[in-house]
Symmetry: D2
Subunit: 276 residues, 4 copies
């Protein structure tokens, strides 16, 4: 891989620190935990989830208002109404918010609320969208395409950086393989690889990465042990009735256990969890 | 897979016939050959290529004006200037044109020229784009995502059809596997499978499907023998100096051999090549 | 890939012709059809199947006496009793027989009957077995490992050839990918690739390659159109009650249709089906 | 997956403890580290390596005397001479030894030395070999086939257990995917999955799992954090001159760092490293 790339560690040997709202830093010694439901499904449910994950130690909220769905007949998000709920949750908890942008035409509305713009796995090679988020002043969480090589993932980051926005956070979320027991195959080796090749921070999504709630906690521990700078975890008070991805969402109680275990792991590698 | 889908053959047992300009029909007994350079690189080169492939028997021209590229530093198409060249080639040859749309904001300009809108492999799950092309009155050639299952591919067609446009042509162009000798693994079984599951026509792109010029001709024969309704072939007068994908482009002379062989195959399966 | 290999076409530009019993040649202008049930399940059933496929135009019989099975509790073949049935079928029809060898210790018994030794997909990298069949005077049909690259497949052939047996017939039988609709993804591009890289003959197994009886016929046509030197087809009188792989076995009637269509394809590419 | 399998946790809810030489237990609270060169290359080199890894905290030695190789022209092990060196290393250090068996005919000689029999990735579906090692009284380390599903891997264990040997240790060593930056994609989710599905112990091979020496240490930490019962690590004094897999072998010094870090991880999850 060429070393004269903006993403390249050879160009930029020190770790990049991505600031969120001048308060939280991703990529430094502190590990950052992002949590919340997959989708914003309703006001009360979301506000309660936000309070619960904050109390358990999350420092950034996640929640989809615009949802890409394989079927046109699945729930695809509350859209603008979802953004309003995110704004309310943000105001109440004080936590920053990450939410997905699928269409450049939604960007203006999303920028009113989002502290981090998420590019989803299916849009990792939607280059027009990458260049759009490359032109705004907001950090971007770039999920790895489910069949993207490490090089293609880094080149997607390059599109954003080349357009002017260097605040890119990579997110490993599992790749598609022949294995069917898990929804995806989480590639923790990729975390190590991108840390070698790039100065950009990388977080791990153990929820999509496994597709099984029972596997989220041990994979979260492993991700931090491998050197990830943070986690993106789906938490839902009532996973069985979630409108999206309930099978891979953990309960707030399980999330508290996850936080305790991950906290233990960080101490061994001379890091600690960022506390808001 | 659910049978109450618009793409489903159970819903619609007869083959769908997609009309191009009220003249050419894709999905009927006649096999349709689409050919031309990967990208529109310049006026004279493209016009000559258009004449050559027409003379060899192609009935639709291909050529990219907007090109998705892994690297932001690669040639990404002539854009509006490319569309003008396509318009000129179309006027001169009389052949309809297929070209890729990557961004809904380019759609108005592309609709001035394109007789078929191409959705590229990397955008197969760009649902906002699918819905945009679902709202216009123009056939859509939907390339299979390079890591999309057959079901996901058909559901991408469903997004377009559900938005109102039922003139979808599927295009198998190879999938990503562990094999590295070929650029992709052409999945001719998928041609047979989608014919069973869906009434939509399906064409095959042996150029991307193999990534090797020497393999295009035999794979083209096999595609038609398997039941494909057409081919999408990259032809370039000077493959070694092509700005995009020269290694998989065949020369006009090789294309003539391909046409002769494919023509032979069609007679065995009670079809024939459409002649413009 | 190195060109100083025994399998390499650069070393040996002309196609290798593998003689079976001094009568049938695989790799020449004639296409050879191998057919029969997946496993030898019983005397009467097998003898009837042998007669039917011979009548329909097959020139070599297939049938497993020793069957590798994922589960230790599945039917794993009649073993020696199966070999006796194969011997009887061979005597009655006069057709040569191909059967799988899984263990070098069975080789002596199998050599009493088999005209071609089959190495199954799961044993493609069982190098001790490869070297054993490399030391006997009998053609070897080497199935591609279901996750073997083209290079690894050719190197497995090299193990056999290096041990002294140059009569190797390659067999493409589908590879493992992310797709789950088909049992395997048939890689017809690989047929073209090995013909370029190697002088060895290559046949295609559309039954394992698709895992769906309804797809066998069109994929068989495509394989021959791509340049395969033969086919290996599972045929069973009563697929629903087969002890092994019934879902991918075609009936004798469907096999007759396959033969007619494949025969048509051969004429277009200046070949013909070998008739016993 | 059926629950009435010998490997199944539903049948046998408690973790299986596999005893090595009545001294070391794999699958209990203590994490077991297996280390040494990929292949036994020579007496002095191997004896020194054995001393170094013992001193650094390994409690079992690894080293191949019989090596499966893709090319028939690569170094394939010292065979009987290699076994003698293993015997000497074992005598000198007192540590048990694991070595690969590729051919049932070598088993008698290997049983004179090996405390654990290794079944390599390429032989995971060599069922005759699985049944052979299922009939001896010696623990078996069963590497996952590089393209085996979790279910197929557990069914391979079932073949061994059904033949009479229940002392099976699973070993995750990476799977084959589209990614080419790493030699394999280490599947740490599979460690969690087999712990849920089975009572058998599971160890991880970060050397083959990544194919890059620089990635071994962080992946080793992650494996233990995910819940693995041990590690299998390639260590070589002079990786650049190793006859086999030097690019993925770490130095004794790097191995000492690995031991220190992994030891830290174990304390967080209420385990500890077994010390011989």
């Amino acid at each position: 891989m060429n070393s004269d790339r903006k993403y390249s560690r050879r160009e930029h040997p020190e770790d990049s620190l991505v600031k969120i709202n001048d308060r939280i830093t991703i990529g430094g010694p502190e590990v950052v935990i992002i949590a919340g439901p997959c989708a914003v499904e309703g006001r009360d449910l979301y506000l309660e989830a936000a309070r619960l994950v904050k109390k358990a130690g999350a420092s950034i909220l996640r929640g989809g208002a615009f949802k890409p769905r394989t079927s046109p007949y699945s729930f695809d998000g509350l859209k603008e109404a979802g953004l309003e709920i995110l704004a309310e949750a943000k105001k109440e908890t004080g936590l920053p918010v990450v939410t997905e942008v699928m269409d450049a035409r939604d960007l203006e509305a999303i920028l009113q609320v989002a502290d981090i713009l998420q590019i989803g796995s299916r849009n990792m090679q939607n280059y027009t969208l990458l260049r759009e988020v490359g032109q705004v002043d907001r950090p971007v969480l770039l999920k790895r395409g489910f069949a993207a090589t490490i090089k293609e993932w880094l080149m997607a980051a390059e599109h954003i950086m080349d357009a002017g926005n260097e605040r890119v956070i990579l997110c490993e979320r599992g790749i598609r393989t022949f294995e069917t027991y898990t929804r995806n195959t989480i590639d923790l080796g990729a975390v190590v690889a991108v840390k070698e090749l790039s100065h950009l921070p990388v977080v791990v999504d153990p929820s999509h990465g496994t597709g099984r709630a029972s596997m989220v906690r041990p994979v979260a521990r492993a991700a931090i042990a491998a050197g990830a700078d943070g986690l993106l975890v789906e938490v839902h008070q009532d996973p069985e009735n979630a409108l999206s991805d309930g099978f891979q969402s953990i309960t707030p109680e399980e999330f508290r256990r996850l936080m305790a275990e991950v906290s233990g792991i960080t101490t061994v590698i001379d890091r600690q969890i960022y506390r808001f």
